[in-house]
């Protein structure tokens, strides 16, 4: 399918008005000036479908599921459809040599222009042998595909930060995309899985302005990752009042009080869940009564337990007994020496006489 995006949209029954509204919403969500909505609409409408190559590495397909399944009639889904997805193992009909040919053809035809989307982390253990496609390791494939890409989107926490494959003890030696590719623009879209609108937002921005959106120090679009879940959480007032649910079925839980004590990682998690919500704005984890796991933060799997409050130590008094024992031994040893010294001093006491007072 070729031709401007707007034609495809019209064919699929999306009115121009609906499309404009969507672009305005997207622009405001990304904290762009109001005029950007129209600019975005015009740019998007005229845009030709860019070539996209999607490489899956050590992943669970959750990111793809999140992107493609949940919102069939929504604009996100459609825009996603509108890109020229030239290679996506899970979605493409082709298989085997046919698929590999498609990949190489796309890379060759669109050299230097295609967008590379990666989900999954890259294993480096035993020369990358933990994950291979068509006999080639992920790291090999990534380097080849990255060489001709205009930009790379690291989709999901695995690609962005290493994710669950990298969780201790990281048997495959998994690393993030940014650990391997150093010479291309990279956008991290972390989350397990990430929010679909973040993906389309980044795409729309890229198509409109010809460059990637503003990123933070972890290469995440600031528009979506600039604030914490806690900052935007509708349960925040309860935190400030000191009203906390203490179990998942107590009075506080039923009243919708803050889930901090149940281990919510909202205060340290940068993501847009609290504003965009999930499943077409239906709900999101905290609204459903469960604390945030912090899935879009690096190493969230090893951050001390999902159900332990942030103020709680991961393993309280692990060394307490041992420390007390060592302290007691040290103290007793010092005391034995001290008492011996004092007794020696007292035993060697020479009676002081008047003569001893003179210097």
């Amino acid at each position: 399918m070729q031709g401007p995006l707007i034609d495809t949209l019209v064919r699929q029954g999306v009115s121009r008005r609906t499309f404009l509204k969507y672009c305005a919403t997207l622009a405001s969500m990304m904290a762009l000036p109001p005029t950007a909505g129209r600019a975005m609409a015009e740019a998007l409408a005229a845009a030709r479908r860019p070539s996209v190559i999607w490489l899956p590495f050590q992943e669970c397909t959750g990111c793809t599921e999140s992107m493609t399944r949940s919102h069939s009639p929504t604009l996100e889904g459609m825009i996603f459809d509108m890109v020229s997805l030239d290679y996506h193992e899970t979605l493409m009909a082709a298989a085997g040599h046919q698929a590999e040919d498609a990949l190489h053809a796309a890379m060759k035809d669109n050299a230097g222009k295609y967008l590379l989307i990666v989900d999954g982390s890259v294993p480096l253990g035993i020369d990358g042998a933990y994950s291979c496609i068509a006999g080639r390791t992920n790291v090999d494939l990534l380097k080849e595909a990255a060489a001709g890409a205009a930009a790379i989107v690291a989709m999901g926490s695995c690609a962005a930060f290493g994710g669950i494959p990298k969780a201790k003890p990281n048997p495959t030696g998994a690393v993030a995309i940014s650990d391997i590719v150093k010479d291309k623009p990279i956008v991290n879209v972390p989350g397990c899985p990430p929010i679909p609108v973040v993906m389309t937002g980044v795409l729309a921005h890229y198509l409109t302005f010809g460059r990637l959106p503003d990123l933070d120090d972890k290469l995440r679009p600031t528009a979506f990752y600039g604030e914490t879940i806690h900052d935007r959480c509708y349960r925040r007032p309860f935190y400030d009042q000191g009203k906390f649910a203490r179990t998942f079925d107590d009075e506080g839980a039923r009243r919708g009080w803050c889930l901090f004590e149940l281990g919510c990682k909202g205060p340290v998690t940068h993501n847009a869940c609290a504003t965009t919500k999930w499943n077409g704005g239906t709900s999101w984890p905290v609204e459903s009564g469960h604390g945030c796991l912090g899935c879009s933060e690096p190493d969230f799997w090893d951050a001390g337990g999902f159900y332990k409050a942030l103020s709680m130590p991961a393993d309280p008094l692990k060394m307490g007994t041992a420390a007390a024992a060592v302290g007691a031994v040290a103290g007793v040893a010092v005391s034995v020496a001290n008492r011996a010294k004092k007794h020696r001093a007292q035993a060697s006491h020479e009676t002081t006489t008047l003569a001893d007072l003179e210097k």
Binding site: D231, F244, E297, P313, G327, A330, V332, R339
Partner: protein, 219 residues
């Protein structure tokens, strides 16, 4: 190491280590101090109500007659910041949770706005006391590096905790990590600095009360 990794380290291995050194240091120092022992007093004791080790432990928490007027800054400032620290440490909900995880004991906390106010008052009192230490000739004369150091390590946890809650200066994650790290510093140095008075003052008051109670003097 990013913010969350720092926080994870601080509340994980960092806290374990700090608590370990704290427990080790306290046990060691307590034995070092009290195992020196003391001689039994062979003079026949004079008994008097109100004179005992326990009486002095309690009585010394209040200013002796006339002293409040002589040194109002030391007493009022001291009261505000010690009580403030106790309220913050013991009655802030996230802290109670920490205590619960360590000991299994739990009690209701105070609203965070109130704790906020207490934290501000505590910091003001500590600053006033610092100025007093600089201004008052006796205090300035007595002050050593240890005194300034102890002030800083006591002030930092209050400041960082308050700033974390207020979202000031640094992202919450980093500030919370710094807060926990500052508490860990406090724990680690407590047994080896004058901050150890938090524990030995009970022993000192008891000895003083006991030694003088033997003579029938309630001190």
């Amino acid at each position: 190491m990013d913010d969350l990794q720092l926080l994870t380290w601080a509340r994980g291995p960092g806290l374990d280590l700090a608590l370990g050194i704290f427990v080790l240091g306290v046990v060691w120092r307590l034995i070092e101090v009290y195992a020196l022992g003391r001689k039994r007093d062979l003079a026949p004791a004079r008994h008097r109500t109100g004179a005992s080790g326990l009486h002095t432990v309690l009585r010394r928490s209040m200013p002796p007659p006339g002293m409040l007027k002589t040194s109002p800054v030391s007493y009022i400032g001291g009261f505000v910041f010690h009580i403030g620290l106790a309220i913050i440490v013991l009655l802030f909900a996230p802290h109670i949770l920490l205590i619960k995880s360590l000991t299994g004991l739990s009690w209701p906390g105070l609203p965070s706005q109130f704790i906020d106010m207490v934290a501000v008052l505590t910091m003001i009192a500590m600053l006033v006391i610092l100025v007093d230490r600089i201004n008052k000739p006796v205090k300035r004369f007595l002050s050593t590096f240890g005194d300034w150091f102890a002030w800083v390590v006591t002030f930092l946890p209050v400041l960082t905790g308050w700033m974390a809650v207020q979202h000031l200066l640094l992202p919450y994650t980093l500030m919370l990590a710094l807060h926990i790290l500052s508490v860990e510093l406090l724990l680690v140095v407590l047994p080896f600095t004058k901050l150890f008075h938090a524990i030995t003052l009970f022993g000192s008051r008891w000895y003083s009360g006991k030694i003088n109670a033997h003579k029938g003097v309630p001190v």
